[in-house]
Symmetry: C2
Subunit: 145 residues, 2 copies
DNA sequence: GTGGTTGCAAATCCTTTGCAGACCT
DNA sequence: AGGTCTGCAAAGGATTTGCAACCAC
């Protein structure tokens, strides 16, 4: 897994890539699966092949415009639009292991706690990336049941 | 998802279930994929069918003897032996997004930070489960590259 | 014009399921 | 004996890949 070669990927601005990005950006807080994107674009009368969606998402992820999550015990990856780095650095994800819902939240308290986690002594110089970290648990609704 | 019916599942003490649990327990800190378990048991001359491994892991997970993780951008679920609840409550997972390695760590500092996270005001009464949460980032080796 | 991109279909990979026979209790 | 569990093979779902036609630059 070398870094070489990463730059030669996808630079062209195609209709499909725009459509996919538009779709994600249309609800920037939400997480979409590849299938959902395919369906949404189909319903908008601008269908894009599923393989193209996967390929474009991979490219967009590499370029940082989209973030990929593997949220759970469920089956498929989710993709989320990255509005801008700053915004993303300041909120965290909570994912309900029961219903799969993902909520965002931010709080000064959490920010501090996270800073502590980041700076804590970790084995082998591990560096924690807050933007990728997802907290798992149960949402209020599911807990109530 | 009610609790009813959970008890009627798998209670028989079969050779295969023991083998699988032994395999997981032989390196209790490690995470195994279903495939790894199949390979290990095969190499030990006590092969177990892949479908049996999946079925047993599901049962063992339900009974709490094994924990299932969906660690990442990678493809398959990982299973870990649950030595005892206390041990598990006190360490956290760091997963390297580049090489996929998972390391455990514990620290008083992190424990405190995590307490803060747990008690922080979260949307909709979300309850964070530390044992399921995985911190993503880069391990020392990958960062060095 | 040229090479990255797309769409389609086939291929892969992981996981689940159906079913007949084997095994636990 | 009787129901549960196993193994095998086939099914299923998500994602990737091969390839010819297509389109952005």
């Amino acid at each position: 897994m070398t870094d070489a070669g990463k730059q030669k990927r996808a630079c062209r601005n195609t209709r499909q890539k725009k459509l996919i990005l538009d779709c994600l950006a249309s609800d920037a807080g939400r997480h979409f699966t590849a299938d959902e994107i395919v369906d949404i674009l189909k319903s908008r009368r601008t269908p894009v092949a599923k393989s193209t969606v996967y390929r474009s998402l991979a490219v967009l992820e590499e370029s940082g415009e989209v973030r990929k999550y593997f949220l759970s015990e469920f089956n498929s990856a989710c993709y989320q639009f990255v509005a801008d780095a700053k915004t993303c650095a300041e909120h965290y994800h909570l994912m309900c292991v029961l219903c799969g819902k993902v909520v965002h939240f931010e709080s000064a308290e959490l920010g501090r706690a996270f800073q502590e986690i980041k700076s804590a002594q970790k084995p082998g110089g591990f560096f924690v990336d807050g933007r990728r970290t997802v907290f798992y648990g149960q949402c209020g609704e599911c807990s109530a049941k």
